[in-house]
Symmetry: C2
Subunit: 219 residues, 2 copies
DNA sequence: AGCCTTGTCAAGTAGTTCCTTGAATATCTT
DNA sequence: AAGATATTCAAGGAACTACTTGACAAGGCT
């Protein structure tokens, strides 16, 4: 008991989990999977990597126990092994955001300048859904919407939004949400709606954060 | 906005934190630093690595923003950058424990068989401290005790315990605690006390868990 | 049965990580 | 100023990681 070799092995075991998350592409995969299960091909497109490489990264995640699989015909669906994996990913992202100085710069380079975009937080949105003073749109793709969404939200994937602006009533404010704090879809939606002279707000955080807070959802 | 290179850079940024934790020796350093600040020499001994290598690992952790430093004379003290880093480490450890099958085996190889050792949880200990029906001993080293301990606990480092058993009253039960769920000191203490015919219990979790739960501490 | 779709495996290469050794630097003590 | 203590830096080699290409496997459709 308590010898060095065993201690090394134990802590190497713990660090396996961190190693699995210690690659940008795998982190992206976890971020996408936090929205719900997806097949390999789909995930490869999502992270802009070859199928073989994506398959390899998914296997790495599976070996560390972070993701699980399900086969359906020729397709293999991957999902997070549990909700705690999603929480771990969120915790990691938050620690990175608060302790790595240059992360602000990287985030702004990817997201663009958010300072002009109005936001709404979860409490306020819940309130306004109750009193009917907003229309909520889910601008993620339709698979993600189908896997689970904010109760009462309607699905308008971001690349269909320009063609479907007319579907939205023009007498209430619009709230757009997507995958999470580092997802650009809702930002793009708010900008696009502003170009059409529609007042629109972005929900701070995305569906996983709403769900983690145990607020009303549908699927 | 939203281009692939920027997205890669952003997620590579997030995964820096995971990379920093993705090495067994660095994970150990974080585990030790969760007890309070320590100098480099001390940490090198703690993780059984050369001074140069330990210094290198600490610099890696510092670059990812997980640890911060303070100089005092010729000594440099390292500490966790914030309490959230400790929480992240705990979350990672828990995900590893619940999703990696072989971790049980590794833990038992390091800790030995715990099934014969009686335990007590935080709620029950808090209760029994209040009604005075236990003596609590902190079997970590004295620096760690000095940096913060369970209110009312007395310090008896594990390697002094054999010589100091007589200091303990023999009419109340003894509760030993140490660094956390994967620390052997309290297990060793309970076994040693049992050999001296003293009834002893191990607190589930250690000082960081007690503190995270906002229970009474002193320093 | 034969072909198609979807996903995994294997080999190879460029780049990175871990740890060691030995030298350099920073601060304190005398 | 010289010596002692504590820490960091630099160079180098063995081991691992990320990604590519091309071959293989598993299941479904006709």
């Amino acid at each position: 008991m308590g010898d060095r070799a065993a201690k090394n092995a134990l802590f190497d075991g713990f660090s396996e989990v961190a190693k699995a998350l210690g690659n940008g592409r795998r982190a992206e995969l976890v971020d996408v999977l936090a929205q719900g299960e997806r097949n390999v091909d789909d995930l490869a497109t999502e992270i802009s990597q070859s199928l073989a490489n994506t398959s390899f990264h998914l296997r790495t995640l599976a070996q560390s126990g972070l993701v699980a699989t399900r086969r359906e015909g020729t397709r293999v669906y991957y999902r997070l092994a549990s909700a705690r994996v999603g929480e771990l990913w969120a915790a990691m992202r938050d620690v990175a955001a608060s302790h790595i100085a240059e992360l602000d710069v990287l985030a702004e380079a990817y997201l663009g300048d958010r300072s002009q975009l109005e936001t709404i937080d979860q409490d306020e949105l819940a309130q306004r859904i109750d009193d009917g003073s907003v229309v909520v749109i889910d601008v993620r793709n339709s698979t993600e919407y189908a896997a689970g969404h904010i109760r009462g939200a309607q699905s308008i994937p971001i690349d269909e939004l320009a063609d479907r602006v007319d579907e939205l009533p023009d007498d209430v404010e619009i709230v757009a949400y997507c995958r999470g704090p580092y997802c650009v879809f809702a930002d793009d939606a708010v900008r696009l709606l502003a170009d059409h002279d529609r007042g629109a707000l972005r929900l701070v955080g995305g569906f996983p954060e709403w769900q983690a807070d145990e607020r009303p959802t549908s699927a």
